[in-house]
């Protein structure tokens, strides 16, 4: 697939959208900066190193920790279901709902469920799935997909939300955010009480205790996982961490990197169904461990660091490209720099070949990544893989030829000097048509120098002294 040039152009020239993205991401940037500063968190860099080390170790011993997790979840009376694909996960839920006579379920925010088009799969079988995170709920009503990992409706402002509520809920137009929240809350409270199943994601799966950890700010995840009789958590296999004490590292980093909060408002530790002497909690608990391509990523020792991601969204907030094009112009639910590195690995580098190139390689993403994924390095690696795919397919041969020619010139100084004296060593890279036109579409072209530095130096040394 080619880059969605028209849509990108539309996003850039939409002042309302630009303002929404720039303001929201700007707020996240500012918030994060305040809570990871040397004064606020002296150990920040040490925590990042520790987080990276734990993730690296766990991903390299994933089989061991998944088995440990499984036996501890079962010891609490929970069930573990391994799902190879999104279809398998959806089928399991559909089957269970049918057996228990459930017609409606509530969901707390889960990118993993977005990834597998969970709601659509369920709705195709008349099982209603209601999103309870405010942003996700707005998007569900508006029939849109998330444009940001942690702030799914970041592209909408309160006037957009007012329109959505009026159209979909039949309420009077309300533009005050607190009142909009109240409207959503009124609808959702009833859904929590009616739902037969609550579905959540999981931020961390603790192998040594069998608990799952869900962080959130709205309390909807806590309600989704405690009111309905059945709780189903869907999580990627990479979410496992060895020990509960590792959370000291990750919880300290996640909220700070994501929203600029030292800790999110709610951190729920959920270990299995309600025990006999307990008042709250579901009767049944299922943990769906999803592969959906993740094991493919384990194969490459360098690229597998993509699986360290804790989905904080900091790389999106700090990415100057994301901040211009927004989340919807990325081909998958994971947008921004993390999307640019994982999408080709999940879907194949021959798909959406433009994606690894949609970056100025500024490195802002790697600088803020709490688990230190070297995103620019992986982008470069993926670019090389795309070039290799194109070589094999024999496509984009003009660009390849241009760089072969450029390399030949750059390794033959005499040719380089000859072309330099004619005014352009760059001619293979920026021929008078195409690329140069694209450059000039945005900017005035630099005047070629009358004399190259090479020529200046030559004329200088031929003079007796100085020559300035």
């Amino acid at each position: 697939m080619k880059a969605p040039e028209k849509e990108i152009q539309q996003a850039i020239s939409d002042p309302r959208l630009q303002l929404a993205i720039y303001t929201s991401t700007g707020r996240f940037i500012e918030g994060r900066a305040g809570v990871v500063s040397a004064e606020a968190l002296p150990d920040y860099q040490a925590l990042r190193n520790e987080a990276n080390a734990i993730k690296k170790y766990t991903i390299e011993n994933l089989d061991y920790y998944l088995e440990q997790l499984e036996s501890n979840v079962m010891a609490h009376g929970g069930h573990v279901v391994y799902c190879r694909t999104g279809q398998e996960a959806a089928d399991f839920v559909l089957d269970l709902a049918k057996k228990r006579g459930v017609h409606m379920l509530v969901k707390s925010k889960s990118m993993t469920s977005e990834e597998i088009h969970f709601n659509e799969r369920l709705e195709a079988h008349q099982l209603e799935a209601v999103e309870t995170d405010l942003g996700e709920y707005i998007l569900q009503l508006a029939h849109q997909r998330p444009s940001h990992i942690i702030a799914p409706a970041l592209h909408l402002n309160r006037y957009d939300v007012a329109d959505v509520f009026t159209k979909e809920l039949g309420v009077e137009k309300e533009v005050v955010i607190e009142k909009q929240t109240k409207i959503a809350r009124g609808v959702l409270r009833r859904k929590f009480l009616e739902a037969g199943i609550g579905v959540s994601g999981a931020n961390f799966l603790i192998a040594d205790s069998g608990a799952i950890v869900v962080v959130e700010n709205e309390g909807n995840a806590r309600l989704s996982t405690s009111i309905p009789k059945i709780h189903i958590a869907i999580a990627g296999i990479e979410k496992v961490i060895p020990r509960a004490q590792d959370l000291a590292v990750f919880l300290n980093l996640l909220g700070r990197s994501a929203t600029g909060q030292p800790l999110t408002v709610y951190t729920s530790f959920l270990s299995g169904p309600r025990r006999e002497n307990e008042i709250d909690g579901p009767d049944e608990f299922y943990l769906l461990l999803l592969d959906n391509g993740r094991t493919k990523l384990l194969a490459d020792p360098e690229k597998r660091q993509s699986l360290y991601c804790i989905r904080c969204g900091a790389c999106l907030n700090h990415c100057p490209v994301y901040r211009k094009i927004g989340g919807h112009n990325y081909p998958w639910v994971y947008s921004g720099p993390i999307g640019a590195i994982i999408t080709p690995q999940f879907h194949g580098v021959n798909q959406d070949t433009w994606l690894p190139f949609a970056s100025s390689l500024c490195g802002a993403c790697a600088e803020v990544c709490p688990v230190k994924i070297d995103i620019p390095k992986l982008l470069l690696k993926l670019r090389a893989e795309v070039a290799e795919v194109k070589r094999k397919e024999d496509s984009d041969s003009l660009e390849r030829l241009a760089f072969q020619l450029f390399a030949w010139i750059a390794t033959h100084p005499r040719i380089y000097l000859l072309l330099a004296s004619l005014g352009s060593i760059f001619f293979p890279l920026v021929p008078r048509v195409g690329p140069l036109k694209k450059w000039a579409s945005q900017r005035t072209l630099p005047e070629p120098a009358k004399q190259s530095f090479h020529q200046w130096w030559k004329s200088r040394v031929s003079q007796p002294k100085g020559g300035q």
């Binding site: 880059a3 040039e5 990108i8 152009q9 850039i12 100057p320 490209v321 211009k324 094009i325 190139f357 949609a358 970056s359 100025s360 390689l361 500024c362 490195g363 802002a364 790697a366 600088e367 470069l380 670019r383 090389a384 893989e385 070039a387 290799e388 760089f403 072969q404 450029f406 390399a407 750059a410 390794t411 100084p413 380089y416 000097l417 330099a420 005014g423 352009s424 060593i425 760059f426 890279l429 920026v430 690329p435 694209k438 450059w439 579409s441 945005q442 900017r443 005035t444 630099p446 070629p448 120098a449 004399q451 190259s452 530095f453 090479h454 020529q455 200046w456 130096w457 030559k458 300035q468």
Partner: protein
């Protein structure tokens, strides 16, 4: 210690901004260095590398190794090209121990221009004079790969007549990104315009940086908009009297 230094001007400076190479030479000579310019030099190979053409990048890197084999100090008036050599050459030769050893021997000999002045020559005041308000643009590879942030500002602080006005978005990318600027011209242009908005708020009449490629991008957008701002490489400011 040798007072002889080699200059790698980079292909962009050679072809489009020779005045930056000339200014670098002047500053170094005024400090008493004997500047050597290996005539067989061409490019660091970054355009090929960043576009995914690693074989081509490797060939150019080998050429660079040959040209600068005998140089003790290699001075580069670009953070981005310095970083290409010191941070990305090695991976090109991971399966060639002999050349890899050569690269590792090369890395500590390569110096970005401002860092050389501060850390090797040991000067902050090069005796320059420049009248005006300028703002400094942190180029991404210098900032995030070479960790250059305070150095150029120290040098600018000692320039007589110069006032440094910091912009809010100093660390934001200018949007150049090599072939990114051609593959995604609209995004690249929009990034530059955001940067320039931030620059305009400072009241500066010139943008200073240690990378000519960023300045080419910014100047291109400035000229298109007809704004009264010019772009200058740090070496040009330091060479002014």
């Amino acid at each position: 210690m040798s007072s002889r230094v080699s200059l790698f001007v980079t292909c962009i400076v050679d072809q489009l901004f020779p005045q930056v190479g000339i200014a670098s030479t002047q500053v170094l000579e005024r400090l008493g260095y004997q500047v050597h310019f290996p005539a067989a030099q061409t490019c660091c190979g970054q355009p090929a590398f960043n576009t995914g053409y690693t074989d081509e990048a490797r060939k150019i890197a080998r050429h660079f190794l040959n040209v600068f084999r005998a140089s003790e100090y290699i001075i580069v008036p670009s953070g981005s090209c310095t970083s290409m050599i010191t941070h990305h050459f090695a991976d090109r030769f991971e399966h060639d121990p002999k050349l890899l050893a050569e690269v590792h021997a090369l890395e500590p000999r390569v110096w970005e221009f401002s860092r050389f002045l501060l850390e090797v020559a040991g000067v902050e005041d090069v005796g320059a004079r420049f009248n005006g308000v300028v703002t400094y643009h942190d180029s991404c590879h210098a900032l995030r790969e070479l960790r250059i942030k305070a150095g150029p500002r120290k040098l600018l602080a000692k320039v007589q007549g110069l006032t440094l006005a910091e912009m809010a978005a100093a660390e934001e990318c200018c949007g150049f990104g090599g072939t990114f600027s051609i593959k995604f011209p609209e995004v690249s242009g929009a990034m530059a315009r955001t940067k320039i908005d931030s620059i305009q708020k400072t009241g500066a009449t010139a943008i200073v940086s240690i990378d000519s490629s960023c300045l080419m991008q910014l100047q291109g957008v400035i000229d298109r908009a007809g704004l009264p701002i010019r772009t200058l490489h740090l070496a040009e400011v330091l060479a002014s009297r």
